[in-house]
């Protein structure tokens, strides 16, 4: 459990680490009140959707799509006679640097369950699945326990609280693939097939899990719902002075004193969050920050220090809020080595379905690997840029952009390091600087 700090928290308020996750603790905090209210008062589903829209709750998984809008894509007929309708919670959390959803599942799983149930009520779903990535198997087991508690208490299942609202929620775990965080690949995985994304259209709201209308939301997005409804959409919106409402869990890692999860209102200046996390480790100078998970463009440290943590602020700075996974890099980082590691990740995780990603990520990695290992060639940097333009926008899913943006941004802000590598066949950042303070390297010549 790594929720280390917060500023006016909402989702993580009142938690006793990961010891207060049981149903009775959640209820003691006011949990399931909103679900009860919505059912007992027979709140119009459209009204709930309106509140979510008023709150300007944007998807917390990385894409930032407004949740209220997504919910209104579901067919309005709520006809279950032809089959099921699904609410899916995407807890695949594969974006490197992101580890907030696992803490939500560890510390506040019932918020996720209540959020899923209310979402199901609002969009007309009768079945829910929480897709949890297989690497956090114990938390998948914990979520199953939480589901059992919720079922026993009658908050999920058939005819909840004596109404005709039914929502069966299941947990499903993945087997270790980043691409299964992509919503349609996630659906394929649940269906027992290879986690390869589907082309869109058709969209999941029309043809999703098993061909049925489906809405997929991130863990944090769904966990926010009960709190959003409790305070009302407008109040949620006003929790910060940003253009979209609410707080955000940021997973901050890398060269900071206290890497972990922090819940702060959107729009909080990065400098404030960095201070909360204890600042750059050892008081070193900040060099670069990846602000929203490795598929978002890297920013130079000084730029990041002047940026507010919201969608608009980061877009203005030339990057994206993404999943809120912040990776801080200090001056000991060789940016070429860092990009090599990222390129390797994208090459490994490509599902292999479509040509630009399957071959492109392989090619990108090979070039960057050569550059890092002293075999770079004169035209490599231009070639890298040109290749990324042939990958991004040409693929079935956003993986193409995810693999391309890091390369483009590293070259944009740190091109001199790459040029140095090609010319001198070694890192610009001296090896002893790279290894100083590292618990990994013990001074041998090979990297």
């Amino acid at each position: 459990m790594a929720i280390l700090g917060s500023i006016r928290p909402v989702l993580t308020a009142g938690l006793d680490g990961d010891k207060s996750w049981h149903l009775q603790d959640y209820v003691a905090r006011g949990g399931y009140e909103m679900l009860k209210k919505v059912i007992n008062e027979r709140t119009a589903p459209q009204q709930i959707i309106e509140e979510v829209k008023k709150a300007c709750l944007r998807g917390r998984g990385g894409a930032g799509f407004p949740a209220g809008n997504k919910w209104s894509f579901m067919p309005k007929d709520r006809d279950f006679s032809s089959g099921e309708r699904y609410i899916i919670c995407n807890s695949d959390e594969g974006e490197p640097g992101t580890f907030k959803d696992r803490d939500l599942l560890a510390c506040n799983p019932h918020a996720v369950i209540e959020g899923m149930a209310i979402a199901a009520y609002a969009i007309g779903a009768n079945r829910g699945v929480n897709y949890i990535h297989g690497e956090i198997f114990e938390l998948y087991q914990r979520f199953e326990e939480a589901l059992a508690e919720a079922r026993a208490a009658g908050f999920i299942g058939q005819n909840i609280l004596g109404s005709d609202f039914c929502i069966e929620i299941h947990a499903h775990h993945g087997y270790g693939a980043y691409v299964c965080g992509e919503e349609t690949a996630l659906l394929e995985s649940i269906e027992g097939k290879k986690g390869q994304p589907r082309f869109k259209p058709p969209f999941p709201a029309v043809k999703g899990l098993y061909g049925r209308p489906t809405t997929i939301n991130n863990t944090e997005t769904l966990a926010a719902i009960p709190f959003l409804l409790k305070m009302g959409g407008e109040a949620f919106f006003k929790l910060n002075d940003s253009a979209s409402g609410g707080t955000k869990l940021f997973s901050i890692s890398g060269h900071v004193e206290r890497p972990g999860n922090y819940e702060v209102p959107l729009g909080t200046p990065f400098a404030e969050l960095l201070a909360l996390a204890g600042g750059v480790r050892g008081g070193r100078k900040i060099k670069a920050v990846i602000p929203g998970g490795v598929s978002t463009p890297v920013l130079p440290g000084e730029v990041m220090l002047a940026t507010r943590l919201d969608y608009e602020g980061l877009a203005e700075a030339g990057s994206m809020l993404g999943s809120g996974a912040i990776i801080v890099m200090d001056e000991s980082v060789c940016m070429v080595a860092a990009l090599e590691r990222l390129a390797w990740f994208f090459h490994e995780e490509s599902c292999g379905q479509c040509t630009p990603c399957r071959e492109g990520t392989d090619w990108l990695y090979k070039i960057i690997h050569r550059i890092e290992n002293g075999a770079g060639r004169a035209g490599d940097l231009d070639l890298l840029e040109k290749l990324t333009r042939n990958i991004a926008g040409r693929t079935i899913c956003a993986f193409g952009e995810a693999a391309s943006l890091p390369v483009q941004s590293f070259l944009k802000h740190f091109r001199h390091e790459f040029e140095y590598h090609i010319e001198h066949k070694t890192c610009l950042v001296p090896k002893d600087v790279q290894w100083a303070g590292s618990t990994f390297h013990t001074g041998s010549a090979s990297c």
Binding site: F199, P202, E348, E349, D362, R377, N390, R394
Partner: protein
């Protein structure tokens, strides 16, 4: 994963523009299809009009107005007012980019790759790629896979992951035998562990593969595409009559490909059609006329041979009466051969000619109203609301008909199967019932009774004691709904000793439910044989009367007949046996007195009438080998030598036009009706009953000699298949060696457990030397440990 992209009911037409050309196309149409309609070709690999959309190759990316990203034409439905640009700078850049990526890991094998010259990757690289690739890294290697003797997967590094082969297995063949394993650039197309590719349609994957990853193993390294001349022909095997493109180099048939014919075989071929050509160049080809004199075989000239035959026939007719003359002809013979042989025999005064070699129940002879046929056109199958198939090993008898049923079953068609088990048809069946062959009629009677009860119609007296089970009620119910229904009888039914009863029951069921009745058909010219009266007019069983002279046309009776043992016995006591065949077999050298070399279908002009009654004529594609002659010519000359009238034909077309009338696309005289529909239900067989499937690759003399097909799993030596329960009752286990006995014959076989075989039955394939000694293809059989 495809999606239904056509709206139901009347299509709305949308105005769109492609490359400046305006058109109106139906709503739901894909950009790539709309473009094709306008004559604009959009490059693609993974898209195929018969397969689901993958949209993964990205070669078809085109620019669409108001979209910053290019869109895949194969997965994008048209919208009103859409403007598509297939050659804009963005589209061209996308195409070049994708092509460069495809070539990145692709080995530069063109000089040694079979696909060279007929390779989509080559063609699109030239047409849509950049002039050179900037890839200067290592290429990944993929190791070869074993996919059996037909489809070569030796150079899988060439694979571009279009997944057409995967989708073909899942969707067309009905069994997924290849899949993409792994991830990223190490993703590979593989077979399942320990399995190879065994579908009877697997050869189509060779056509589908756009590169040289899946190639034809028999054809490997033998010729370049541009060296081959393509000539059209028609399949001589099953009753579907697929259109062929036979490719020839220096007068030798090198390869057979499908000729696209949407009405018949669409763009597919069964493996039998595709690979049987190897038999044409077999060392077993009979190349010179031969005569047995004093127990010794001698090669003679045609004149000598035909003279001998003519005299032989005349002498025996004079001595023993024309009743002692008989002719057996293969239903794979051309229409002209069948017609002239029939004319010849009748000219000599004999009615004893038959092409229905594996039939043993002739009770409908004299009752039929016309030539039995499929009862509907092949392209009407998709429109059926329901179809009941009775007594068929669908995938062996007519793989492409089975494929049409497979696709229909995915739509609105309810396909039910009432048969003898032993084969997974890979069709989503509404109901499936498997019974012992002698109980097939009783079960069909139950469906009839259920339908009658459902409809409130009177039940035939003979069915009084029958109690329909839930499945037969379901089959009946399906046939009572909707407009277009069909009841189809397969070869198990027509070869059954109770074929007459099955025909009568099916006819009554069809009439009661308003369904069409039809026969799947046993061979390329089963329908043709009836039309030209190559069947006895007065009915009867060929081998039950002693014959003194027998003419065999394209037949190997020990393997091709309903009771090979009886057939051989009858031949042995005949005075003279005249064999016209493309092959000389050891058996023929024994029982024959004359061997006349026949030109197979590639070396003669001729006609096949398929199960729809479709008249399909073809020309020879190569010169006849050795001294082989077209059968129609041999019979014409023989007719002259015998002094018979009406044997003056100058061409095979003249023969065809005489029997069918000229210019007919479909033959007349097709009728599945019967004069009487009385039913006598057969008595069930006691003890263990034999089910004799005729494996596709044993079914006719040509395919038996196709070397690559004979190496496949489907051509393995017959075994004794029984359900686990049956095995237990007999005290046997899988892997035991058993001796099976029928009548005077026996065979030693290995035991295989197969729960799809009905209880108290053993499935022992026919048409194979290992089991030919058993004689009859049905009836009771004993099984004991060997």
């Amino acid at each position: 994963m495809g999606w239904q992209h056509f709206s139901h009911g009347v299509s709305v037409m949308l105005e769109i523009e492609i490359d400046g050309k305006k058109a109106a196309v139906p709503e739901g149409c894909l950009v790539i299809d709309a473009a094709r309609q306008l004559g604009v070709y959009i490059p693609h690999f993974c898209y195929h009009k018969k397969l689901s959309i993958a949209a993964s190759c990205r070669m078809c990316l085109v620019e669409v107005e108001n979209s910053p990203k290019p869109v895949p034409a194969c997965a994008t439905p048209v919208t009103a007012g859409m403007k598509v640009f297939t050659h804009s700078p963005l589209a061209v850049e996308a195409q070049k980019g994708v092509m460069e990526f495809l070539l990145a890991n692709h080995p530069l094998d063109c000089p040694i790759c079979d696909q060279g010259g007929e390779c989509q990757l080559q063609d699109l690289a030239v047409g849509y790629g950049a002039g050179r690739s900037r890839y200067c890294e290592e290429k990944r290697v993929v190791f070869k896979k074993d996919a059996g003797p037909l489809v070569a997967m030796v150079e899988m590094s060439r694979c571009i992951h279009c997944t057409r082969c995967v989708r073909f297995g899942q969707e067309i063949a009905g069994i997924m035998e290849l899949g993409m394993a792994g991830r990223n650039s190490h993703a590979e197309i593989e077979t399942f562990l320990g399995r190879s590719v065994e579908s009877e349609l697997s050869g189509n994957m060779i056509d589908l593969c756009p590169v040289g990853a899946l190639t034809s193993r028999p054809f490997r390294y033998s010729a370049r595409g541009w060296e081959l001349q393509g000539r059209r022909s028609v399949s001589p095997h099953d009753a579907l009559g697929a259109s062929l493109l036979v490719q020839v180099k220096q007068d030798k048939v090198m390869r057979v490909l499908p000729f696209e014919n949407e009405e018949v075989n669409e763009c597919w071929l069964s493996d039998k059609d595709r690979f049987s050509y190897e038999a044409l160049n077999s060392t077993e080809r009979l190349l010179k006329p031969m005569l047995k004199q004093g127990g010794e075989w001698q090669e003679v000239t045609w004149n000598v041979a035909l003279d001998y035959v003519a005299h032989g026939l005349k002498d025996i007719a004079a001595e023993s009466g024309s009743d002692a003359l008989a002719a057996l002809t293969s239903p794979h013979s051309t229409l002209e051969e069948l017609a002239l042989l029939a004319k010849l025999m009748r000219g000599l005064g004999s009615d004893h000619i038959d092409c229905r070699l594996r039939q043993c129940d002739f009770s409908t002879d004299g009752q039929r109203l016309g030539a039995p046929w499929l009862g509907l056109r092949l392209n009407e199958i998709a429109d059926l609301d329901a179809v009941l198939v009775v007594g068929s090993f669908l995938r062996q008898e007519s793989p492409l008909l089975a494929q049409r049923l497979r696709q229909a079953a995915k739509g609105k068609t309810k396909v039910s199967l009432l048969s003898v088990g032993g084969e997974a048809p890979f069709i989503r069946l509404d109901t499936s019932v498997a019974v012992a062959p002698s109980q097939l009629a009783a079960k069909l009677a139950a469906v009839l009774k259920a339908a009658a009860e459902e409809k409130g119609a009177s039940v035939p007296e003979a069915l009084r004691d029958i109690v329909p089970c839930a499945e037969t009620r379901r089959m009946a119910a399906a046939l009572l709904v909707g407009e277009k229904k069909a009841v189809l009888l397969g070869n198990v039914a027509s070869q059954s000793p109770f074929a007459g009863a099955l025909h009568a029951l099916a006819a009554q069921l069809a009439e009661l439910t308003g369904a069409s009745l039809g026969f799947i058909g046993e061979a390329a010219n089963s329908v043709g044989g009836y039309l030209v009266k190559a069947v006895p007019e007065q009915g009867g069983r060929m081998f039950e009367r002693p014959m003194q002279a027998c003419v065999l046309l394209g037949v190997e009776p020990e393997l091709d007949c309903a009771d090979g043992v009886s057939a051989m016995a009858a031949l042995k006591q005949a005075k003279t046996v005249i064999v016209l065949s493309a092959f000389k077999s050891a058996a023929a050298l024994d029982y024959a007195d004359v061997l006349l070399p026949l030109a197979p279908f590639t070396e003669t002009s001729g006609t096949f009438v398929n199960c729809e009654g479709r008249v399909q004529s073809f020309q020879a594609v190569v010169k006849a080998a050795g001294e082989a002659r077209p059968g129609w010519k041999v019979l014409r000359v023989l007719g002259n030598l015998l002094g018979l009238e009406g044997f003056e034909y100058e061409s095979s077309e003249a023969v065809r036009d005489e029997v069918l009338g000229s210019g007919a696309a479909f033959a007349a005289g097709l009728d599945n009706g019967m004069q009487t529909k009385e039913v006598v239900l057969p008595v069930a067989v006691q003890g263990i009953e034999r089910i004799a499937d005729i494996p596709a690759y044993f079914a006719d003399p040509l395919v038996r000699r196709a070397s690559s097909l004979q190496k496949s799993e489907a051509a393995a030596t017959p075994v004794a298949r029984m359900a686990a329960e049956t095995l237990k009752n007999l005290g046997l286990t899988a892997g035991d060696k058993v001796r099976v006995r029928q009548g005077q014959g026996s065979a030693e076989l290995l035991v295989v457990a197969d729960d799809s075989v009905p209880p108290s039955c053993v499935q022992v394939a026919g048409a194979h030397l290992a089991t030919a000694g058993l004689g009859r293809l049905s009836g009771s059989i004993t099984v004991e440990r060997a």
